[in-house]
Amino acid sequence: MTFWHQALAISRKDIRSYYGKPPLITWGLMFPGVLLLSVYLKDPGTYLQVSPGVLAMTLLFASTSMSAIVITFEKRAGTFQRLLLAPLHLQTIILGKTLSAAAYGLATTLVLTLGLAVLLGLRLTLPGLFALGLILGAVLFALLGLMAAVVVREVFEAMTLMNFFRFPFLFISGVFMPVAHLPAWLQPLAWVSPLTYIVDLLAYGINGRAYFASPWLPLAVSAAFLLLFAWLAAATFRRRVYA
């Protein structure tokens, strides 16, 4: 039992309780699906160029929304207190909540990828790298959502707070426009956005090439972001939850 079993128990409960919530379906699946379809209808030849970005965006919105919704719902209902009263390490709670949110982001993005493959003929050049990018992105963004949710009370507050960084991320991280095409003064901002590196990894997975010359750089930076966010999430939880 202990650490992993308890974390998985938290995740399983969240999956059972929250996967059908309307905001998750809207932000996680419908929004990116409709966006990709509209890009395809406008120009079927270029949708492959934007698909890594839209898939990364799906991952971002689904994972952050899931973790934010779960935490804010449970804080309002008082059920989050149940976790704090149970004999669990703080890291167990964070891992459990992160896993369920990351799993949701992964599942949503995989459904969209499968839809693209079946309907529009998407093929993966480097599937291993694509999977690694998805997993890293899902965990990273779930931790980001967790941090946002723990400092607010209502779901709409969490969504508003997250949109302060989610939408800017979309514009500076190579989702719709390659980073190289950004104005020079904006490019440094792209380097501090974790989405930039996830988009790059997915681009490697789909097209076999991307902005960075080697996939090792986005892999290493994503891993560093993951460690940083895990540390920040633990610090935020400790400060805000037991206050």
Binding site: M1, T2, H5, Q6, A9, I10, K13, R16, S17, A77, G78, T79, Q81, R82, L83, L84, L85, A86, P87, L88, H89, Y242, A243
Partner: protein, 333 residues
Amino acid sequence: MRAWPSVLRPLAMTSAPIIAVSGLQKSFGTLRALDRVSFAVRGGEIFGYLGPNGAGKTTTINILCGLLPREGGQVSIAGRDIAQDPVWVKQRLGVVPDASNLYPELTCRQNLEYLGELYGLTKAGRRTRSEELLTLFHLADKGATPFAALSRGLKRRLTIAAALMHRPEILFLDEPTTGLDVPSAKALRGLIQRLNRTDGVTVFLTTHNLFEAEELCHTVQIIYQGRTLAAGTAEEIRQKVAGHTVLEIAFDKPVSAAWWQEQPLGGTPVVPANGRWRLELGQQDLHGALKTLLTQAEAAGLRLTHLQASGASLEEAFLALLQAQQPTEGRAT
């Protein structure tokens, strides 16, 4: 009444404190919520922690359960400090918050089994234990019902059942009967007593209901504005306001309130209570008041059918203690 199966870990009544709190301090901004509060709870007893709204009761529970950090003082639970050993201590605690807060979308059985999993019970152990508790709390037919669909009384019962899932040594109950109807509250009190008597669970109880505290608690502590006003058994606390006597009187014939107003008895105005008349006197007035009463009754052709003189109830002692304090605004809950 159904027999009470011995499904909880037996714990012998001990004289050693299972909870020892010394000089506990906590502030919220400039508000001093707890000001050097100390107490000890013996293993196997029901300890009542009483006080008006904002006295600091929930703050104390939250600190003892690891939900809030303390700013000063010592806290030992089963020999360890929750700030140092939170996981070890929490494994030994069952907590029933003032609001029933189980997962609304999960069924009663799923709620119990999920919490069992968090407390490290095996799959078989969780199943057995949840069925035991559903039976014990007369919820066996509600096992597949979502928590959100239960009545308030049933929610309360399931919340207490959930707190017992891992067989805790200490049960914290924060206002357990608030909002319940009279039969549900009475049934719950019976359940708390049986948990304590049959299974030796130490109970830390906060309540506004002083009759409840008097009925259930072995020892009580009254706090007000974060400070201890009194501590001891209910009898010891009643004696703190010694000199206070309550008279209950009934005659063979009806008398009016106007008749009572003419009688120079002293004490509080006489009021009807449960078909009798009730007044409160200082104990030094008792002899004179009774003498006057009997003389006046005889003159009016009345015969006493009931006369009862008693000391202050815990509630009256509580109110007397509070009245002796200076009121201050804006306390923690």
